[in-house]
Symmetry: C2
Subunit: 173 residues, 2 copies
């Protein structure tokens, strides 16, 4: 029915079981001796702190308009985040995105939740410009060009106003 002969199915099941055992060993070996950095530090300039998450401006080198929406709880995978927290986090991601678009008119917004190095859910929200060092490649790829420092300087100067607009939308009291 599934297109496999029964011998193939058990071979695949055996492989899957081995993979599961291997993954468990890897997870155990990766249990950090040191505490998670996103549990003990803001991870950037703290812009707003809500119940489910906080917004920090990461200001990654070459990308002044890069924010992170960091889950408050230490959870590694998005699908393990409680649905109420998922909704709140995605609401905040939307606010960061719309604020970046309104203030900076970027060529594109990039969203990503990777966490391969720091396995604590955090969304990257990055305003991309056609003049930036990597566009249209992802910010983690090989650079495409040298950046005009004047472009970066202008963008950097605009960021405190973006922070303030985010604060006003996320913390409206």
């Amino acid at each position: 029915m599934n297109g496999f002969a029964s011998g193939e199915v058990s071979a695949l099941a055996r492989v899957a079981l081995q993979q599961a055992q291997l993954a468990e060993q890897v997870m155990q070996s990766r249990t950090p001796a040191a505490p998670c950095p996103l549990c003990i530090e803001d991870g950037g300039v703290l812009v707003a702190e809500l119940d489910a998450c906080r917004v920090v401006r990461a200001g990654e080198p070459g990308f002044p308009a890069s924010y992170r929406v960091v889950l408050t709880d230490h959870v590694a995978e998005w699908s393990d985040v409680h649905i109420a927290d998922q909704l709140e986090v995605m609401r905040v991601v939307n606010v960061v995105e719309t604020t970046l678009r309104a203030h900076l008119h970027p060529t594109k917004i990039n969203l990503a939740s990777l966490g391969n190095v720091v396995a604590h859910v955090h969304w990257h929200v990055v305003a991309r410009f056609d003049w930036d060092s990597h566009f249209p490649a992802p910010i983690w790829a090989r650079p495409q060009r040298a950046v005009d420092p004047a472009h970066l300087a202008v963008l950097t100067q605009l960021m405190p106003a973006v922070d303030e607009a985010l604060r006003q939308q996320l913390l409206p009291w």
Copy 2:
């Protein structure tokens, strides 16, 4: 009040206006003569088609367990997607993630909505393994190692069963 002198504010406003005009020119110059590829092609092996989105297995080279959740409508930015469609798309992203985790026990799941090249909302959902060519770097970064072809072969063999599990969860009739 915002820490800027009024001269600085008008200088910043002028820069922001110039940026907005530039962005509009860029957007106009980027209006494709050819139709959007994700509007005319599935963009991978079609696994399930729902109202708001479809799931395709992208099978990017070196990453057999890479799926895309492609918005049905042609919308460039996530925050322009109708909230009902956002909720449906994120539900589907959750299903893809949990299915990949249950079947493949990856080291980590990576989620990303970039769209710098094809500006039609699509979520990358990729199962990452500590043995893969790039781990722990993003899949778009510089490779970290050569991959054991046996690992890739095993993973590739498991993918039709993952497709089938996805279909059963997303199209339960």
